[in-house]
């Protein structure tokens, strides 16, 4: 087993911390519209400045996602994407990139179907670093957690505007890698973020954990990314990237548009942190 991967997420956050930077985490759906396209997109995201890659595992019933990511899942499933093929895609990505952390994000049922142990072993072997299962809260995660731990994979949990302070602490105790604060009540890509509100909630989470805190669900523009980067350790952008893929005239056009947009996000985040440091 590749012994470096359990530490890829941690190493990335540590490096960024020494540079005074927040991580840019990008989400796209695996297989939208094909596995080959996704591989090219992932490489473009890294070129543009993505620090961590979140790869969506498509599911037929994506209950926590808005229409943009629902449509991406449908396109991917129409193209024959499956959890098994997502792992093959990560293996292919690792041929040229051993450093960028990859986190799978999806729903529990495909993982249940594969089996927790089989999945965890195969994911680690493929070069996955962490897994976020949207519909698996810590209360139901004990059995899965054991397999994730054994395979050296980070188990990333969500926190939400509805989570109590007591829950912040309880969830963080079970989480590894980083925690993901859902910045709005709603589905992915739904509403704009209230930066002031998010800033105070992130501070509350950071008071109970040493894990990095990422913020996502509603970050769509460089300006918002920059504002969030001043409060959080990571900024997660998804629906805006999936829209670029959906609207591009060709895969080549999507590849260059993704790279350019990610660069604009990263530049805005870097600028904001430098300004903060200077002030």
């Amino acid at each position: 087993m590749n012994t470096t991967h359990p530490y890829r997420i941690k190493a990335r956050f540590e490096t960024l911390a020494t540079q005074g930077q927040a991580a840019l985490v990008t989400f796209i759906t695996a297989g939208d519209p094909s596995a080959d396209a996704t591989l090219a997109y992932l490489q473009a995201l890294v070129r543009g400045g993505a620090d961590i890659l979140e790869l969506g595992v498509p599911f037929s019933d994506p209950m926590a996602d808005g229409p943009t990511i629902q449509r991406a899942s449908e396109r991917a499933l129409d193209g024959g994407m499956s959890l098994q093929k997502v792992l093959a895609l990560v293996t292919a990505f690792r041929v040229t990139d051993q450093r960028t952390p990859v986190v799978l994000m999806g729903y529990l049922n495909p993982i249940e179907r594969m089996g927790y142990h089989t999945f965890a072993t195969a994911a680690a072997k493929a070069g996955v670093d962490g897994v976020l299962v949207v519909d698996l809260p810590p209360e139901e995660a004990a059995e899965f957690h054991v397999e994730m731990l054994a395979a050296g994979l980070a188990q990333i949990f969500l926190l939400a505007p509805t989570s109590s302070a007591a829950r912040f602490a309880a969830v963080c105790r079970q989480a590894t890698g980083f925690v993901y604060y859902v910045s709005v009540k709603g589905v992915t890509g739904d509403k704009p973020v209230d930066v002031a509100e998010v800033t105070s909630r992130v501070a509350a989470i950071k008071s109970v954990t040493t894990l990095p805190v990422g913020v996502g669900f509603g970050v769509r523009t460089p300006a918002t990314a920059a504002a969030i980067a001043q409060a959080a350790d990571a900024v997660i952008v998804g629906s805006a990237l999936v829209e670029i893929i959906e609207q591009a005239s060709s895969e080549l056009a999507a590849t260059s548009a993704l790279e350019g947009f990610v660069r604009s996000l990263k530049d805005a985040m870097t600028g904001a942190r430098s300004a903060m440091g200077a002030s």
Partner: protein, 412 residues
């Protein structure tokens, strides 16, 4: 059995099952598989429901509404002519079709609307397949002065246009769902998305014994009035318990409602009848307990219709109300434990049951209920004449008349 012990909301019905456990699990099934945003609202709902269960005033109001608004108790009717024709078991029908709004669904929506009112929520949302639950939700919303939005698959809107108009008359907004297979499961996805977005002031009335904890337990408790009445009526009218109880199973709320009070009566066979569509062997059906595998969907672990990669597959049934790829987690547990058995009836067979009851008893049943009737029609002739069989006639068939006509090439 007297009327008051018969009507306890807290189930003192000699059940060997204390399920679900504190985490909402029925053995390996059930649970709370939802995104973090819904964990707090579900905890809040459970706390409110526990208060209601312990409050005699709540129970009294629920029972008053069941009696005077719904029209309970519903009769237990001996279908003598049909039984004679079949030449075997004596079939009794639990007449949920005679409830206000025409199905068992209203038992649950009254209960949940009372919980919503206690929680101070003035806006309710619901999902619906055949439209019966949507109508029942719109009905209680009208009565309690709440606003109501119903999510319904675009395909179901087409096949149940009468119920869509009923909901609109009642003041509800009906939102067509065009994602996925455009049926009940997609309506549930969309209702969950609405709830997560408008969670502060919205109460989600789930129409069946599925979804995350505490819904499977709460909906069951509200529907158990069916089984408690049936049990008491059997003792009063026949002088003994029935030998078998049959009910159709989509999500499974009418079935769990009539089964649960009999769980401790081990002499009573419990048989759930799923929608076999074109036939279980064709793969075109909605029978996860008969031909599915366990998995996680809509907040709970249960039997599902899924492919080898864990994607939910499209279901098929003539009956919109049974066209669902999952089933309540308690049924999954009852199947595994062997306490209940589950069979499937095809569209064709269900139509035969529909016509048999209509012609021989003058009762037009819902296509959902017709599945249970069809299996009764197959089973009864194999049983002795002193076998007492109860079939839950969960709804009336007026809404299905256009479907039956189209299917049989008749224009009305």
């Amino acid at each position: 059995m007297n009327a008051s012990s018969d009507s306890q909301l807290n189930l003192a019905d000699a059940s060997p099952s204390s399920f679900p456990d504190a985490r909402g699990h029925f053995g390996p099934y059930g649970g709370k598989f939802v995104a973090e945003t819904l964990m707090a609202p579900l905890a809040e709902l459970e706390a409110a429901y526990r208060e209601c269960q312990a409050d005699p005033a709540f129970i009294a109001e629920f029972e008053r509404d069941l009696a005077h608004y719904v029209g309970r108790p519903s009769p237990l009717y001996h279908a003598e002519r049909w039984s004679r024709e079949l030449g075997g078991a004596q079939i009794y029908l639990k007449r949920e079709d005679l409830n206000h709004t025409g199905a068992h669904k209203i038992n649950n929506t009254i209960g949940q609307a009372l919980v919503a009112r206690r929680m101070g929520k003035r806006h309710i949302i619901a999902e619906t397949g055949a439209g019966q639950h949507g109508v029942a939700a719109a009905t209680v919303a009208a009565r309690f002065g709440m606003t109501c939005r119903v999510y319904m698959g675009a395909n179901d809107i087409q096949r149940q246009s009468l119920n869509v108009f009923r909901m609109k008359l009642l003041g509800a907004e009906v939102v067509p769902v065009t994602s996925g297979s455009k049926t009940l499961k997609d309506a549930l996805n969309e209702a969950l998305r609405d709830w997560v977005t408008n969670v502060d002031h919205t109460f989600y009335i789930i129409g069946t014994v599925a979804g995350p904890h505490p819904y499977p337990e709460m909906v069951r408790d509200f529907q158990c009035v069916i089984g408690r009445e049936t049990r008491a009526q059997c003792l009063a009218q026949i002088g003994r318990l029935p030998d078998s109880v049959l009910a159709c199973v989509g999500g499974g709320s009418n079935a769990i409602g009539i089964f649960h009070p009999f769980l401790g009566d081990t002499s009573v066979r419990l048989i759930g009848v799923e929608a076999g569509g074109d036939g279980v062997e064709t793969g075109r059906h909605s029978a996860p307990l008969s031909a599915g595998t366990p998995g996680v969907l809509h907040g709970n672990r249960t039997y599902l219709m899924q492919d080898g990669s864990g994607q939910i597959i499209e279901t098929h049934s003539i009956s919109a109300g049974l066209d669902y790829p999952g089933v309540g987690p308690e049924h999954a547990w009852l199947k595994d434990s062997g306490r209940a058995s589950y069979v499937a009836i095809t569209d064709e067979e269900a139509l035969k049951g529909f016509h048999a009851l209509t012609r021989l008893e003058g009762i037009i049943p819902a296509l959902e209920s017709s599945h249970a009737l069809a299996y009764a029609g197959k089973l009864a002739p194999t049983l002795p004449k002193d076998h007492i069989m109860v079939v839950n006639l969960s709804g009336r068939g007026d809404k299905d008349i256009p479907t039956v006509a189209t299917r049989e090439g008749i224009s009305i």
